[in-house]
């Protein structure tokens, strides 16, 4: 008689076994599997004894209050005031928005007609590209990117499989990250963040190798990868950079410092 594997017993416990009836029948007739299943049940039941500090029904409201000031300061998908103007929902707002737009058009026309010709030859000021705004956008994006990259690398570095490990999921994530990184590297180079650009280049190289390497790694190959990550100190660099980026995301009186 084929016994149920530990995996099958675990799936059965969670009600995800493909054929629960067959598993149940087997358990009824097999003392060995029943003993194993009983032990599994006891272990998983005792895990439930891990207590969670209770939060009352008022917790949500308290949390909301705590977050309120941070939410008000945080940029949502669009700046609120701009979005509200772009999507007027009352007749008054529609009229006001139309008037404002017309005024803007008229002002642009008048300015174009009467602005001295010589001024037109001067390079346009990069008002939209305020360096501080640009750098903050880069910081937020890079912070998120580093978090996700670190996750992929740490998962691979911590894996201790008995046999070959399928890393196709990690490869797909690495490929996505590589496609994102170019923009960050270019922006970092452009804003003079040489340290950020260097770490991003190192990271990019590692992610590229993972994305284009074999989708199944033997324990030995994983070990080599782990050694390489350690030798290059890439995880450490990511953590340091990530930590710096997160610190700088918080606006402070000291302003931005180079990484």
């Amino acid at each position: 008689m084929n016994h149920l594997s530990e995996e099958q017993l675990i799936l059965h416990y969670y009600g995800e076994e493909a054929d629960p009836f067959a598993a149940e029948q087997h358990l009824e007739g097999c003392a060995d599997c029943r003993t194993l299943y009983g032990s599994l049940q006891r272990v998983l039941n005792v895990v439930d004894s891990l207590p969670v500090p209770e939060r009352g029904p008022e917790y949500g409201a308290q949390l909301r209050e705590r977050l309120q000031s941070r939410l008000a300061a945080a940029p949502a998908s669009w700046p609120r005031s701009l979005w509200n103007w772009l999507t007027p929902r009352t007749p008054l707002r529609v009229a006001a928005a139309t008037a404002a737009f017309s005024l803007l058009l008229a002002a642009a026309f008048v300015a174009g007609r009467f602005y001295p010709q010589a001024q037109k030859l001067k390079p346009a000021p990069m008002a939209a590209a305020d360096p501080q705004v640009r750098e903050r956008i880069l910081l937020v994006a890079v912070g998120d990117y580093l978090d996700r990259s670190q996750m992929v690398l740490v998962e691979l570095a911590n894996a201790r499989p008995d046999g070959p490990l399928d890393i196709s999921a990690e490869q797909a994530r690495a490929a996505d990250l590589v496609s994102e990184s170019r923009l960050y590297r270019q922006t970092a180079a452009h804003t003079g963040d040489a340290a950020v650009a260097t770490v991003l280049e190192d990271l990019d190289r590692v992610l590229l190798e993972i994305a284009h390497g074999p989708s199944s790694l033997s324990p030995g190959e994983l070990d080599k990868l782990r050694q390489r990550l350690e030798a290059e100190g890439i995880l450490f660099k990511i953590r340091v950079l990530g930590s710096n980026v997160r610190n700088e995301e918080e606006p402070g009186p000291a302003g931005r410092q180079k990484l």
């Binding site: 530990e6 995996e7 675990i10 799936l11 969670y14 995800e16 032990s39 599994l40 006891r42 272990v43 998983l44 039941n45 005792v46 895990v47 439930d48 004894s49 891990l50 207590p51 969670v52 500090p53 209770e54 939060r55 029904p57 917790y59 949500g60 409201a61 949390l63 909301r64 705590r66 977050l67 309120q68 941070r70 939410l71 008000a72 945080a74 940029p75 949502a76 998908s77 669009w78 700046p79 609120r80 979005w83 509200n84 999507t87 937020v140 998120d144 978090d147 996700r148 670190q150 996750m151 740490v154 998962e155 911590n158 894996a159 399928d166 196709s168 999921a169 990690e170 994530r173 953590r239």
Partner: protein, 191 residues
């Protein structure tokens, strides 16, 4: 009739912080439970909850409206917790002590007689469970918490972890196997 999450998400996407506040109220408690089980530490869990909501608010433009807001939020919280657990791995040992020392009247071990011996045993068991949970890798812990405590199916766990269902299943297996090895001596019937 109570509005759905999707309706509040739509408002929050255009910067309505009040609508987002409703989502915070709705999901705060469950997110705290998840974060606590992932981190094993009350203060860390609080930090994870707040950071998760802030990340969610900042990334609302990336949210696919066809998806479940709760699942998406769980994914963010799981990732926040993962980041925290990984960084905390460096200062190993602290959490086990905190957990085993924590007083909690909601302990759910079945008992009709909470005498001193049983209380001491319960504290020891909780300590062992917390210790065993700490031995799991961050991914295993996340997968296990989502499957075991949050009742998500493997498919949902894989969506939260952004991996293939096979990989999520494997993480749950590894977690249960490790827990079984660590806790079997504690739960074996007395000879």
């Amino acid at each position: 009739m109570e509005l759905t999450d999707a309706a509040f998400v739509a408002k929050a996407r255009v910067g309505d912080t009040h609508a987002f506040g409703v989502l915070v109220e709705r999901h705060g408690r469950s997110l705290f439970r998840l974060a606590f089980r992932m981190t094993g530490n009350e203060q860390d869990a609080e930090d994870v909850v707040q950071e998760s909501f802030m990340r969610a608010f900042r990334q609302l433009s990336k949210f696919d409206e066809r998806a479940s807001f709760g699942t998406w939020l769980y994914r963010i919280a799981a990732n926040c917790s993962l980041d925290l657990v990984r960084s905390r791995k460096r200062r190993a040992g602290q959490m086990v002590q905190e957990d085993s020392e924590m007083e909690d009247p909601t302990l759910s071990l079945p008992s009709t007689d909470p005498g001193p011996e049983r209380m001491a045993l319960s504290a020891e068991v909780r300590g062992r469970v917390a210790e065993a949970m700490n031995e799991l890798s961050p991914t295993e812990r996340t997968a296990f918490v989502l499957r075991h405590f949050e009742g998500m199916c493997i498919e949902e766990v894989s969506r939260v972890l952004e991996c293939q269902p096979g990989a999520a299943k494997h993480s749950v297996f590894r977690a249960v196997q490790k827990l079984r090895r660590a806790l079997e001596p504690v739960v074996s019937p007395a000879k």
